[in-house]
């Protein structure tokens, strides 16, 4: 608007009305921006369900509405309980259990790495570390969080698997591991989710009022007692929120697990064997030229839908815990 150059004589009707009109227009436009974020979620839902329908029923929902016939190609029982996953094979098998297992194995394993280490780091930062140490340790962990996942993938395939795990497997179990292994994926995803657990847990521990700590110290408690019996219980919902966030991140993690754990869809308890997660399957399909309408292309969205529902559940849970935490110490 040009109102800023001309002198404004008090509440001259014309300019004031124009300014208010500009304000209303700006408000509408900005609301439009905010609405885009909601539209994004709706679009994700729509695209995933629409295309996943073509995998299960042979036609997209939009095509069905236009009169395409739908017959069930893949049953949900087969999809969720079948133990062979090869939708692009000459004799196709549609059991997604092996890749769902792969994702869960990496997620649970990584949680065993990131949760203890992340929580311990958070306690150290919040209760023990001097200001000087904290000023160095926190930015270092932020760097760890800022490194692209593809770099972690490289770290797994070029260092963790061949240099760390291969000699151990060889010496202790006499197993010759290939380029990929489940344990390598677990370790690398665990490492990359440590900063998430530690930073959010530390935030909620720091938010615990000092009165609670001082009360315990006055009773003769050591720092150990205060950390484990006062601070940790008081901040538990924030700490849990950080765990859920780390788990959710591990479920959706793609490049690191693809380069670390590999492309062999199978259910196994051997940590040195190659497995495939849902995300790794999606990458392997995108690597080929999967054209629209092929079963490979459709399966991408079926798997993507399962992935999305899993992370959505985690995010809603996380939201729940976070809100409870905010209520406690506001």
């Amino acid at each position: 608007m040009s109102t800023d150059t001309e002198p404004r004589p008090g509440i001259a009707g014309g300019t004031a009305r124009r300014d208010l009109e500009a304000n209303r227009r700006a408000r509408r436009a900005l609301f439009g921006c905010a609405a885009i974020t909601v539209l994004t979620t709706l679009a994700i839902f729509f695209v995933l369900i629409d295309n996943a329908a073509s995998y299960f029923f042979g036609a997209r929902i939009t095509e069905m509405l236009l009169g395409a016939s739908a017959e069930q190609k893949v049953t949900f029982t087969e999809f969720f309980t079948g133990t062979r996953w090869a939708p692009d094979h000459a004799t196709p098998a549609h059991g997604a259990l092996p890749i769902i297992f792969g994702t869960l194995a990496i997620t649970v394993g990584a949680a065993f790495v990131s949760i203890p280490i992340g929580t311990a780091t958070a306690i150290y930062l919040s209760e023990y570390a001097s200001d000087g140490v904290r000023a160095k340790l926190k930015p270092t962990l932020e760097i760890l969080a800022g490194i692209p996942t593809i770099v972690y993938g490289y770290f797994a395939i070029a260092f963790i698997n061949p240099v760390v795990l291969a000699p151990i497997a060889e010496a202790l179990f006499g197993i010759n591991i290939g380029r990929y292994s489940m344990l390598s994926g677990i370790l690398v995803v665990g490492i990359m989710t440590i900063p998430m657990v530690s930073s959010i847990s530390e935030d909620s521990m720091s938010a615990v009022p000092d009165d609670l700590r001082n009360g315990a110290y006055a009773l003769g408690a050591t720092r150990f007692d205060v950390s484990t019996k006062i601070v940790l219980p008081a901040s538990i919902s924030g700490v849990f929120a950080s765990y859920i966030l780390a788990v959710s991140r591990a479920i959706g993690e793609t490049m690191a697990v693809t380069l670390a754990a590999g492309f062999n869809a199978n259910v196994t308890a051997n940590p040195f064997s190659e497995i495939m997660t849902m995300t790794a399957y999606m990458v392997s399909m995108a690597r080929g030229t999967s054209a629209v309408g092929t079963v490979e292309y459709q399966s991408l969205f079926a798997v993507g839908l399962v992935l999305f529902v899993m992370t959505l559940t985690m995010n809603l849970l996380n939201d729940r815990f976070k809100r409870r935490f905010q209520e406690e110490y506001r």
């Binding site: 800023d4 203890p116 720092r223 793609t254 995010n315």
Partner: protein, 299 residues
């Protein structure tokens, strides 16, 4: 010690054990804290040595590396196309996400009434931030690449990345707006300014450093994202893209291509590419931290 005190109240407590427990605990959690640091050091060291070995033993000339496009032949492969594509992607992503992201944040902080709709938008935002990046790739693939049929071009990749970083930009902008004291706003209102005039001439200039910091951090995240680009189809393209409507392969996808090759030469090319990618990421983070420190105390 404590067991020999006369006071019957403390006879039950072994103070020495309590202190030992405290020290042991400190040792354990200090070691755990160092684990992350050690892993970061190992990761950087691994990339650095592989980069060094690549240059010395595999004759990866840095001059050729920066001036050649990718290639199926390992001795001819370079990184120029990927670097150019990544820079173009960042510019497009910034344009697509900045205005919408900042606009949403302004609406939510300055205008939005406390209604169900507002709470829905806020809750949805928290959710979007947790959606795996690969799902944004699927969205761009189905809606843009095949939906409106633009094919696996740069614009499609930047749409996926822009949607991916939008929640980050919105949240950091909200924080920046919140840090502008209400007194500043009220001073503006007192002169008869409308909300929009106040935002444009008072609040936004004051919040700009914070907004820029958040945007740069978001772009530093976007430049390393691989999965959405792979979903969109940014693989196996070697030449430098001409513009936003050309097919492309960016830095992270090129690195993935090389790292997945069995040949050691390609693996060392990947390490060299990672060194370049990390340089980009660290410089962007550095600029963001510099901006934050420089303007932190202004208001």
């Amino acid at each position: 010690m404590s067991t020999e005190t006369d006071d019957p109240l403390f006879t039950e407590i072994d103070l020495e054990w309590e202190h030992l427990k405290n020290r042991l605990f400190l040792g354990v959690i200090f070691a755990a804290s160092m684990f992350g640091v050690v892993m970061l050091a190992l990761l950087l060291l691994d990339v650095a040595t592989d980069f060094y070995v690549g240059v010395t033993e595999y004759d990866i000339g840095l001059g050729e590396f920066f001036t050649r496009d990718g290639s199926r032949r390992e001795e001819l492969a370079g990184f120029r196309g990927a670097i150019v594509a990544s820079i173009m992607l960042m510019v497009l992503t910034a344009i697509l996400s900045f205005f919408v992201g900042v606009g949403s944040a302004i609406y939510l902080e300055e205008y939005a009434p406390d209604t169900r709709v507002t709470r829905l938008i806020e809750a949805n935002l928290a959710n979007l931030a947790g959606v795996p990046s690969i799902v944004y790739g699927l969205l761009a693939l189905a809606a843009f690449v095949n939906g409106i049929g633009i094919g696996p071009i740069l614009i499609a990749g930047s749409v996926a990345l822009a949607l991916l970083v939008m929640p980050i930009i919105i949240v950091t902008t909200q924080e920046a707006l919140r840090s502008v004291p209400d007194g500043v706003r009220n001073g503006s209102y007192a002169t008869g300014a409308t909300e929009w005039q106040t935002i444009r001439r008072v609040v936004l200039p004051a919040a700009m450093p914070g907004i820029m910091t958040g945007t740069i951090l978001a772009l530093a995240r976007a430049i390393g994202e691989t999965a959405p680009l792979i979903m969109v189809g940014a693989l196996f393209v070697n030449r430098t893209p001409f513009g936003p409507f050309d097919r492309f392969s960016a830095m992270p996808t090129q690195i993935y291509n090389w790292a997945a090759e069995p040949s050691q030469h390609f693996v060392h090319l990947a390490a060299t590419g990672i060194a370049v990618l990390l340089a980009f990421v660290f410089v962007m983070n550095g600029i963001a931290v510099y901006l934050r420190n420089k303007y932190e105390t202004d208001i």
